[in-house]
Assembly symmetry: C2
Homo-oligomer: 202 residues x 2
């Protein structure tokens, strides 16, 4: 998977400190600085590979506490995958105690069957998270890309590279984890006092 020239330019602009992105992407705004220790879980549920990322909003930069993929092999029955998603998330919540969760909002599904299966994975994840008393917010995919890469139709690799840079990760995170980290990061930005598009609580 490559990167388009347009995305490359956007990315370069972001990274080179041009006028538009002179301020650090996660510069704490007035309201964000008041709660600078907030821990955010980003989650990108799917039946076979749910991405998750937990960040702590710190100065001078946010820090990744945990990220990865809840892998459920093709041979597993659907219900076993759903149980695994719930269980793994519950352990992560216990370990890192996030105060808020960001999940993808409106998204594209190819057909009803796909939507149903994606929905099941989301339901297994959201139930575990909501049972822990964590507030859940939906962020539209385009908003995530706009917030992270500055370009709503950015490719996955561009998102992953920017996430790596923002969180100062040694290695490029794998796509599912990167998307989840991007959700957490973009949620933390949406919390700023000048934010135009507040995430929707679900």
């Amino acid at each position: 998977m490559g990167i388009t020239p347009q995305e490359y330019k956007q990315l370069q602009n972001r990274l080179s400190g041009s006028r538009r992105t002179a301020a650090p992407v996660l510069a704490p705004s007035a309201s964000a600085s008041a709660r600078s220790t907030v821990i955010i879980l980003g989650i990108d549920p799917s039946l076979r590979g749910t991405g998750y990322g937990i960040i702590r909003v710190e100065k001078p930069a946010p820090r990744a506490l945990a990220y990865g993929k809840i892998h459920c092999p093709e041979g597993w029955q659907r219900s076993r995958c759903l149980a695994n998603i719930s269980q793994t998330l519950r352990e992560l919540l216990k370990q890192h105690n996030p105060g808020v969760c960001a999940i993808e909002g409106l998204f594209f599904a190819q057909n009803l069957q796909t939507a149903l299966i994606m929905g099941e994975a989301r339901g297994a994840a959201l139930a575990a998270i909501a049972e822990a008393g964590i507030e859940i917010y939906e962020v539209a995919p385009r908003k995530v890309k706009q917030a992270i890469v500055g370009y709503g139709a950015a490719q996955k690799i561009a998102v992953a590279k920017m996430v790596q840079r923002m969180l100062r990760l040694v290695d490029l995170p794998e796509p599912d984890a990167a998307d989840a980290l991007a959700l957490a990061l973009s949620y933390s930005q949406g919390q700023g006092r000048y934010s135009l598009s507040q995430p929707k609580r679900v």
Copy 2:
């Protein structure tokens, strides 16, 4: 909601002990009698009103242990409903300890958004049930109606009336609970050695 003349005739035939239904609907077959104490959970998940029904396969007739609807008011956030579905089911499982669960298989959703929301409710339910180590089987809606009313396109009221009769309930169960009880009953029939359509494990 009424009952069509065709359904009424089917129902009458079923109830009057005509040739086709001379045997009790749940007559234990060789394999069923070997596990006559099996407890079956039927579940019909939806965000605002998940129907559930738990039956024990006994002689001379199956018995309803618990049934009802997990009600989530319109004002509740989606995530709160999902948490409520998981929690309520977990309590029911602890109380009645079913060995197996029957859920609707292929079903109709009007659009992607509906499928997603239905999927979320299913995921919240299935994760809780699978985490308890309970085997889950899908039964197609038409198979349920065929098994209970003897007619694949039967209306809800016909299903509820037959369920009431089979389980010797004093009152007509409400539609969501009746559908769940019907799932459990049809699963118990599908276990017979001469069954043509085994439910699909998920």
